[in-house]
């Protein structure tokens, strides 16, 4: 319990620091986000909008009012671009991002563990070498490039997947089962592309952990008991590797989120990344701030979850 409280307190402090830094960076950046882009619009117009959005107040007062609204009411203000409440806007954008990131995480672990198992089952063979080289290559390839190529070949070329979006046009008319299948048809390719980038890492970690396990006393004992190689690797080896793999999940959470921003744009996926990019392009400061904070919350939550899970799996951490 003490560990959980300590971790929660640290997470809250970190979140507050992120909020303050994000506000400071955005507030001190040059330029006026409400300045009319059309030169025929008189400057008084911007003054009116500034007053409406409270930007005519001194910086410390704006900061305190903003922080108070965020912390007490989770109120992130209104989007300068759409006028929509920011919390509502991101509430709409968050589920698609979580779905994509979750599916990518699944793809990443399934692919990574699968490849790691294959490589560990024949260490130093040609197969092992191929898996290791392939892991490095996919890790090195930029997500946007892989995404574009995947769309060109699999969607535009072969018609195996939609070229983008989360649903087909007018999907609101579909029944629940057809709608789910429609989302799945749109999800598999971006999830695979996003998952691929980290799958190589998982594969290499899985491989080295399994090979390491085979050399331990436990590994030798399992073999002496006559267990099959498959069972040794799948059950005992993976149990041995799981703490390290979980640690990787906490590391890959921020990478998945930043990767999701790119993948969402390439695949026209309507999530947090797309909303953030639009906000950055249009100087929509309230959305930029909130999206930064949402990203921070997701990363902190993922790290916290991984820490707590690790402490359940590894008694040494609880003892600390």
């Amino acid at each position: 319990m003490a560990l959980i409280l300590r971790r929660l307190l640290a997470a809250a402090t970190l979140f507050l620091i992120v909020l303050t830094l994000a506000f400071a960076v955005v507030a001190l950046a040059p330029g006026d986000p409400l300045a009319p882009s059309d030169p025929r619009i008189p400057p008084e117009q911007a003054e009116r909008l500034r007053a409406l959005y409270g930007l005519d107040q001194p910086l410390p007062a704006r900061y305190l009012r903003w922080l108070g609204a965020v912390v007490l009411r989770w109120d992130w203000g209104q989007s300068y671009r759409t006028g929509q409440p920011v919390a509502e806007l991101l509430f709409d954008a968050l589920p698609p991002t979580l779905l994509l990131a979750g599916a990518a995480l699944l793809a990443q672990y399934l692919l990574g563990i699968g490849l790691g198992l294959i490589a560990a089952s024949r260490p130093n063979s040609r197969l092992d070498l191929s898996v290791r080289v392939a892991s490095l290559v996919v890790y090195a390839l930029p997500t946007f490039w892989v995404g574009l190529m995947a769309i060109l070949v699999l969607a535009v070329g072969l018609g195996l997947a939609p070229a983008g979006g989360m649903t087909s046009a007018a999907a609101f008319e579909l029944g629940p089962a057809a709608a789910a299948l429609d989302v799945l048809a749109h999800l598999w390719l971006p999830a695979l592309v996003l998952g691929l980038s980290m799958a190589g890492d998982i594969a290499r970690y899985t491989r080295s952990s399994l090979i390491e396990f085979q050399a331990t006393e436990a590994g030798r004992a399992a073999r002496a008991r006559g267990l099959s190689e498959t069972r040794i690797l799948l059950v005992h080896g993976l149990a041995h590797a799981s703490p390290r793999l979980l640690q990787l999940a906490s590391v890959s959470a921020p990478l998945l989120l930043s990767g999701a921003v790119i993948a969402e744009v390439v695949f026209a996926w309507p999530g947090l990344g797309t909303a953030t990019l639009l906000a950055i392009q249009s100087g929509d400061i309230p959305v930029v701030l909130a999206a930064t904070a949402y990203g921070a919350v997701l990363v902190i939550a993922a790290s916290l979850a991984a820490d707590l899970l690790l402490s359940r799996l590894d008694p040494r951490i609880r003892a600390e």
Binding site: R40, S168, A169, T274
Partner: protein, 533 residues
């Protein structure tokens, strides 16, 4: 075991999804509907609280109508107006009053008639300080809007002006009976409310909205034009990235995309089943030379810069030919453009000679010219969000380097750069303007627009001021053609800005679509007439 099972399940699900998608892709086209790809999300049907952009207007115009609509005939002469919700209109002799009679068959989608009360309500909203509509300046000339009877409304003006019809017709007429209950002070706090309380007078109504994904427009059965719209449903799908939209077009997931980049247009140009249309818009891209800086104070140097820069190469390389070399801020697709103006030729030798004549020499032999001890080295800025302009900056840098000038390209966040340009805190910068057909260019070249305004170059010429003022107050713009030609000649000679190019808008359509006629006023112009062959 678990990973193996999970992997099998995932593979099965993926296969099912792929097969499902494959089957769905083979379904025959539903000719009652059309899917349009757009690079933004439509934020609100209430144009008074949304950002004033052409893209949003193109959609708002499907829901609501203005009293009169500008015709896209600005190449032939000053703007003319087609009836919208107005049946006809008439000025008083002194042009201080305009009486507008509404169409008797104009009704809202809920069956309520469109009345003069709606027109007055709209004017009150357009000019309300709490709503702070971006284009409220169009209404400054209107002193009052009088309801004469249910179908007649009278506009009263402070003074007779050439833009009276433009001032009256700017803005769509809003439904008082549906939106009047909400205080103006609350309009900006919840733009979603207007989606929930939509009644429309235009060809379409709102059928469904999925935030971040799509907007579905359905046929308005109460629209006054018989037989229109021809399509029952328009689905507007959002994707922020131009390449992503192009991919959706190539796979047939959308039927129309407007605002394509030149590179994407290349992918579509010869694609079977698709038709690429390139049409003029009303923008031009330019480099402003800050005349307060020592490099750009004299006309001879600015002319030399115009001759040193190869704009044809930019149009060919960056735009793949989908643009025209710019020559005047009165762009070539409007009636008052002076076609007799000869563009400054790309002539590096002449540029070098002109620079030498202006006193620029390479005294220290470092390859960079100097004058009065000041090296010809300056920062050439543009927006981070303008890749075409950034490419152009690289080309300008190379062109100028060839004549001994060191231009240092730099990307700056858009709002920050605009502010710097308005404060004259820059050396040279590339930007773009979109002109309207009133052709009132005082904001860009009048000396009164120097302090904090958009006369970025800080250019002051009494003759230009006089010509601008004279044209802006003429009741008959056509009679001011001579003034406008003279203005273009002076600007061409003085070169406070070098107009780089006039881009074309690139739109791609499924070639089975008929009656499609996008224009500079709207990429979805005459959408109600579009149909499948």
């Amino acid at each position: 075991m678990i990973p193996v099972v999970a992997m099998r399940l995932l593979a099965a699900a993926g296969l099912a999804a792929m097969l499902g998608w494959g089957c769905a892709s083979d379904t025959p086209r539903d000719t009652t509907r059309l899917t349009v790809g757009m690079r933004f999300e439509y934020p609100t049907p209430n144009e008074l609280i949304g950002l004033p952009t052409l893209s949003y207007s193109a959609i708002s115009n499907q829901f609501f109508l203005p009293l009169m609509a500008e015709r896209p005939d600005f190449r032939d002469g000053p703007p003319t107006w087609a009836p919208g919700l107005a049946a006809d209109w008439e000025f008083s002799e002194d042009r201080l009053r305009l009486t507008v009679r509404l169409r008797p068959d104009a009704v809202w989608s809920d069956g309520e008639p469109v009345t003069a009360e709606d027109v007055r309500f709209t004017w009150l909203a357009q000019t309300d300080a709490d709503i702070a509509w971006g284009y409220s300046f169009y209404k400054e000339s209107i002193a009052d809007v009088e309801v004469v009877d249910a179908a007649t409304v009278r506009f009263h003006f402070d003074a007779a002006g050439p833009t009276a019809l433009a001032d009256v017709s700017t803005g769509l007429i809003l439904p008082k009976h549906a939106w009047g209950e909400r205080p103006f002070a609350e309009w900006r706090s919840d733009p979603g409310w207007f989606f929930e309380n939509m009644v429309t007078s235009g060809p379409f109504l709102l059928e469904n909205r999925t935030p971040g994904r799509e907007l579905v427009l359905g046929r308005n059965p109460n629209y006054f034009e018989d037989g229109l719209p021809r399509l029952e449903r328009i689905i507007l799908r959002s994707a922020t990235d131009s390449a992503a939209l192009t991919n959706l077009l190539l796979t047939g997931e959308v039927d129309v995309v407007s605002g394509l980049g030149a590179t994407d247009a290349q992918r579509i140009r010869n694609r079977p089943g698709l038709r690429l249309i390139a049409y003029p818009n009303r923008q031009f891209t330019f480099v402003s030379w800050n005349t307060r800086k020592p490099w750009f104070q004299d006309v001879e140097t600015r002319r030399a810069l115009a001759m040193a820069i190869d704009r044809e190469a930019m149009v060919d390389t960056i735009w793949h030919g989908y643009a025209e070399v710019g020559n005047s801020p009165v762009i070539s697709s409007v009636w008052a453009h002076d076609a007799a103006l000869e563009p400054w030729p790309h002539d590096p030798t002449a540029a070098r000679d002109a620079l030498a004549a202006a006193g620029w020499t390479d005294g220290d032999g470092d390859g960079i010219l100097e004058r009065d001890g000041v090296p010809f080295r300056f920062e050439l800025a543009t927006f981070t969000s303008a890749p075409a302009r950034w490419d152009a900056m690289q080309m300008i840098q190379a062109d100028l380097r060839a004549v001994g000038i060191d231009a240092q390209p730099r990307r700056v966040e858009a709002n920050a750069l605009i502010q710097r340009m308005r404060d004259k805190d820059f050396d040279a910068a590339a930007s773009a303007f979109a002109i309207d057909t009133s052709l009132d260019l005082r904001y860009a070249f009048h000396s009164q627009s120097i302090p904090g305004g958009d006369n970025y170059a800080a250019y002051a010429n009494p003759e230009v001021d006089r010509l601008l003022d004279s044209f802006a107050t003429r009741l008959d713009p056509a009679a001011g053609l001579e003034d406008l030609h003279r203005l273009q000649r002076v600007l061409h000679d003085d070169q406070p800005m070098l107009v780089l190019w006039e881009p074309l808008t690139l739109a791609a359509f499924n070639e089975e679509l008929v009656s499609v006629a996008p224009n500079a006023l709207s990429p979805l112009a005459n959408l109600e007439e579009w149909a499948w062959r």
